[in-house]
């Protein structure tokens, strides 16, 4: 026994044999509600956006340094990996933006009913998709 807490987790099966009691919730069979998935997605997108600040800083420092360094960052941003990263960050930004607005509404005490949080789940997801698509339609049209 490596952990004293395991002493509390001993039970007996229907045959009387000692068994380790299962932990609850059963993570293998427990389907996370959408609200829970969207809740930890706020943290994940926040971390992804933090990584994205490195590229923003790189772009600004390169623009302030020389034509050669600006050409390097432009080459990266226009490569397939650059486009993929920018698409990911734009989606993460709009998700964090929409879900952040919902968090502010919760801070003001609004929208705690189950029906309301289900409706705001949909609004956050639709808002994220809408703003991301809009960003890229306008962004690619400007090229």
């Amino acid at each position: 026994m490596s952990d004293v807490r395991e002493a509390l987790m001993v039970g007996r099966g229907s045959t009387g044999k000692p068994v380790a009691r299962p932990l609850s919730p059963h993570l293998q069979v427990y389907r996370l509600p959408l609200t829970a998935i969207l809740s930890f997605s706020h943290r994940i997108t926040g971390i992804a956006l933090s990584v994205g600040t490195f590229v923003l800083v790189w772009w600004l420092v390169a623009a302030a340094t020389s034509d050669a360094s600006y050409a390097t960052v432009s080459w990266f941003l226009r490569s397939p990996i650059g486009y993929l990263a920018l698409f990911g960050w734009s989606a993460a930004l709009w998700y964090h933006f929409c879900n952040g607005l919902r968090h502010l509404a919760w801070d003001f005490g609004h929208g705690f009913e189950l029906s309301q949080s289900r409706a705001s789940n949909r609004m956050v997801l639709i808002g994220t998709a809408l703003f991301t698509v809009l960003t890229w339609v306008i962004g690619l049209a400007a090229q």
């Binding site: 968090h103 502010l104 962004g139």
Partner: protein, 135 residues
């Protein structure tokens, strides 16, 4: 020796330290509050930033400098960078406090994140100022 005539008024006092949000952590609600203030600031700034990036994404370097020469543009970009890096540092601190249980690694990572966000903010802010002055 209890005096039956003495009235204990201690229970009538509100705990000023608690009312001011100064619990056991002694720092009160400053972290939570700053996270919200920066979030509200970032609502208009983020929309403006995305619109700006779309405009500048197909421009050469000289146009970026020219755009930055406007004091309004430079000021808004500096405001965005300040709010963004502060918001980022506050948010990452909560994630680290939640998922790094051991004290020493936790403090070390917290310091590293603060140092990194400070350096990233300063590097980007100095770049904006340089472009704004030279552009």
């Amino acid at each position: 020796m209890a005096n039956p005539n003495k009235v204990d008024v201690a229970v009538m006092r509100s705990m000023l330290s608690r009312a001011r949000g100064l619990g056991s952590a002694k720092s009160g609600t400053a972290h939570w509050w700053a996270q919200r203030v920066t979030a509200i600031a970032l609502i208009p700034l983020a929309v403006w930033f995305v619109a700006t990036i779309i405009q500048l994404s197909h421009q050469p370097r000289a146009a970026v400098g020219h755009w930055m020469a406007s004091p309004i543009h430079a000021a808004l970009l500096l405001a965005l960078l300040a709010a963004m890096f502060h918001h980022m540092q506050l948010g990452l601190a909560v994630v680290i406090e939640d998922y790094v249980p051991a004290h020493r690694p936790k403090v070390a990572i917290l310091l590293l994140v603060r140092a990194a966000s400070a350096v990233l903010f300063l590097a980007s802010a100095i770049s904006v100022v340089r472009l704004a002055v030279a552009g």
